[in-house]
Symmetry: C2
Subunit: 262 residues, 2 copies
């Protein structure tokens, strides 16, 4: 059996999508700042595998990483409209605590949950809504500088830079996943942007499975399904991680209903 | 007379280089967390123009920016080896406070003191010392992603991203100056890296004068003299700001002595 995987923010939306998809494929250690009810734990995971702590608690984070092979760091304030003081503490300081603790504990790799909000200001009035459509060529591939649309996005860009620093100076393998619009079942309804950056639950779980299993140095990848309409490239996720998504928002109408086969 | 310029961190090394060079060319308001002795004030500037406050003090920062046309934000922990808690507070939170206060006060433009440390991890073992030399082609031009060599550099990259955010969302003009190795008189001695990124005092003052006077949207520029050996491009500073440096470390020997004319 491989070393356990530490999942921070395990009770959140992304964490739950991961655990429902690949909960039986790894040995888990779960961390959240709230206790996790039994329905949020995958089979075989008990309260003994759950740590209730804040991500800025260095001692708790180092202890949580003892013996861990890989970390998926999701914990933080997930609100795009979160105020500065919250993202400064929970997202920026939290990410630094996670990376530093991973290095201290000898963890091999960290997948950091970044966000589409780190680059959402590329969606200027002049480019939208055309850039959300299939026939528009504008795209981002992860090599561009951050352009956050909110302070939450600023905090995610800072986390990416922290990951770069800990990779360069401590040889930690780091992948930053700019997560798109995660929904269960159908894509977001009547929301072109959300359909362009849709990430289905099963593709999300598969992507983070690849973050656990693949070998990489430092990567920034976009976490979206293989949507026909997209302005985020998934080429780097395919190449660096072996990501092979199954879903496409084009299989649904703009209203989110399954599309009749032509 | 134009609106006054607010200079934060006015008592520091960069602040003093600016004030000694262009102290008589603008009306100044100076901010530092320590009182400034009379020898640190340019002619005509009195204690009435000096605000003693911390950059994370929102109320003091907003008051300091009242009626100001441009801000040069230098304040922060300047130590490359500064610990995380200090750069998180003084440099990251401080930069956010400065940008937010500038927007609140209706300031037109902010020059943010970034640093070569935001990209110093591009200087890998495989590339150095060759990249510091004239005959090596490797270079950075400001479009590359940050690769900080220390947590201070992480904090400066975060400040750049904050500037991008406040430009995109609030229409603030922002220039981030990745300051090289500032010394008075001769370039750093027996330090190839320092000679490649040398910034003379007079070029520093001229560069920030251009940051006050030029019209720009959002820029990342390198702040170095026109050194013959350099791996930072100054093209963007020339084009966007009208920067026209006078100095070149090649006018000095590696020991820092003036070079005999050939």
């Amino acid at each position: 059996m491989d070393d356990p995987v530490l999942l921070t923010g395990a009770g959140g939306r992304v964490g739950q999508a991961i655990l429902r998809g690949i909960g039986e494929d790894h040995e888990w250690r779960l961390l959240d700042r709230e206790p996790l009810s039994a329905d949020r734990l995958p089979p075989g995971v008990t309260d003994d595998d759950v740590i209730v702590a804040d991500v800025t608690d260095t001692a708790a984070m180092v202890e949580a990483m003892d013996g861990v092979g890989a970390v998926i760091h999701l914990a933080g304030d997930p609100r795009p409209e979160a105020p500065w003081n919250s993202v400064l503490e929970n997202n920026i300081d939290g990410a630094q605590t996670a990376f530093e603790a991973a290095v201290d504990a000898g963890v091999e790799k960290v997948a950091f949950a970044s966000s589409n909000h780190a680059v959402s200001a590329y969606e200027t009035d002049a480019r939208t809504p055309e850039m959300y459509r299939t026939d528009d060529d504008y795209g981002l591939d992860g090599t561009e500088l951050p352009r956050p649309g909110n302070l939450y996005g600023v905090s995610k860009a800072a986390g990416e830079t922290l990951g770069r620093y800990y990779h360069d100076t401590e040889d930690l393998s780091v992948v930053c996943v700019r997560i798109g619009n995660l929904t269960e079942s159908h894509p977001p309804r009547n929301y072109e942007r959300g359909q362009a950056m849709w990430l289905s639950h099963r593709d999300c779980a598969h992507l983070f499975d690849r973050c656990i299993r693949a070998d990489y140095e430092y990567e920034i990848v976009y976490g979206i399904s293989d949507n026909e309409r997209k302005y985020y490239s998934i080429e780097r996720a395919r190449e660096a991680l072996g990501y092979d998504p199954e879903d496409d928002s084009a299989a649904y109408t703009l209203e989110g209903e399954p599309r009749d086969k032509a």
